[in-house]
Amino acid sequence: MPGIVFIHGGVPGITPYASGPHIWGSVLERFQDATAIEVAGMTVDAMTQQVRKLIESKGPCHLVGHDLGGVIALGLAIEAPQLVRAVSAVASVAAAPTGDGVGDFTFAHPPKPLWSRESQRWALERVSYSHHHIDDRLLDACVAAAAKQRPMTPQAYADEFVPSLAKAKARFYEVCRSEGIKVPCQVIWGSHDPLATLDHGLWLYRGIAQRQRATQFHVINRAGSLLFREEPAAFHQVVAAFSEGIRG
């Protein structure tokens, strides 16, 4: 299996749990030649360029992006397909179309102080089907990440990040309907993701499937946004099968 690069999601200072390379947990041990990278930047474009620098020396690799990481992976597949062998967009609510959606209250009232151990435990539970994957190792890593990360201010989020995400998504869907994403892509969704419906995942798949023959959609049962933590065996099974299937 060629190199596989895991790109986490989350926006520091906004997402009520601190994501980072630690979020993937033990699932990384199931893959050979896996690298989990740390994303930084105030806009999607800055994040994408930073990830591009990190993967440029690796040769074409399979990018696995969670949520916002999925947007970055798909952006790189458009911008630099020579660096990308395949994309797995995982619970990528950030990439999915929204339309005039209804408000999501999953993170409406986090307990304070924000990004404390208990507040992050609350947030992680809120995005999960089950709380069983939330252990001390994860909480320690989230607390350490929150202490280290430079939080985005609400103003910077509204003025810079949100428009940059809208721009990245507009480019992505434009390419989907015109020349198409040039590398095989799969969308993987948790059956019980509280942040988005299964339909959101299916419409993300449909967007890519318009022009990319090797597109797949997968649902993993009894899992939320962190499906790779809740069902690591099934997650590995789906990603490995896709890698093997497109190689065939």
Binding site: Q216, F217, H218, V219, V238, F242, E244, I246, G248
Partner: protein, 297 residues
Amino acid sequence: MASTSPLPQGRWIDVDGIRTRYFEAGSGEPIVFIYGGNFGTGDSASSAYTWSKQIGPLSESFRAITFDKLGQGETDNPKNDDYTMAAVVRHAAAFIRAMKLPPVHLVGHSRGGYAATRLTLDNHDLVRSLTVVNSGTLMPGVGTNEVVLAKPPYPTGTREGVRWVYENYSFDPKVVTEEWVDAVMATLALPKYQESVRKMTVEKLGSKLFAPELAREKRETLQWIDEGRLQRPVQVIWGYDDRTAAVDYGIQLYRMLARHERRALFHVINQSGHFPFREHPERFNALMRRWVPACQE
């Protein structure tokens, strides 16, 4: 059967008095494939050939088996005019018993997806896992075979007519090879198959017996799924562009199955019609290679 068929040499086994043709290769965990269609259709005819892109490749890792269903391919027709899906399911279960197989990984496509599911519900001891592929027969909602395949613009039973049917099932008509058409024509030419056509059409067993019995049992089968009676790991694989069985109904079926089973996966394969395992065999087989060992854990 075309001489270039990649299937291994066919074998025969007596299954409760029904001479049954089957194909097998490899060793290890048994996977049994059940194809779709039913006896007595004059413009198409499935046979074990349907799985020709699975048996060889998957036999490198597993004991891969497929067989001709009751009244289809070269297997004998039903006894006592029992042209029903229930008889098809009983025969399939009896085949697994006659082969003395340990619990199998059952894969069913289309009508075979229904048969595999009902077989599991009736015979849990025979089944280790279930894979359902583009099954308009099993899914809730409206199947659209009639919309897509009504009145082929060629005479019934001709090569052109057969090709037209399978091309309209497929996303890419080029997947319908001469070899595939040869396999269908070989089945259609069998006197015993023509007898089943006569039974289903001239004697009207299709409309008087097969269809109403299937409708009744389908209602029961979906109720049983809803009640959580399947009780085996299950995955649903769907060709996205199937015009006869829409992917949205595949999702509905998956939701029903997944409500009661943790190990429930749903997979959609792009640019594929009704036969994703023939249009994208590498990706279908990769899913199977990962599924079977996962069910052992």
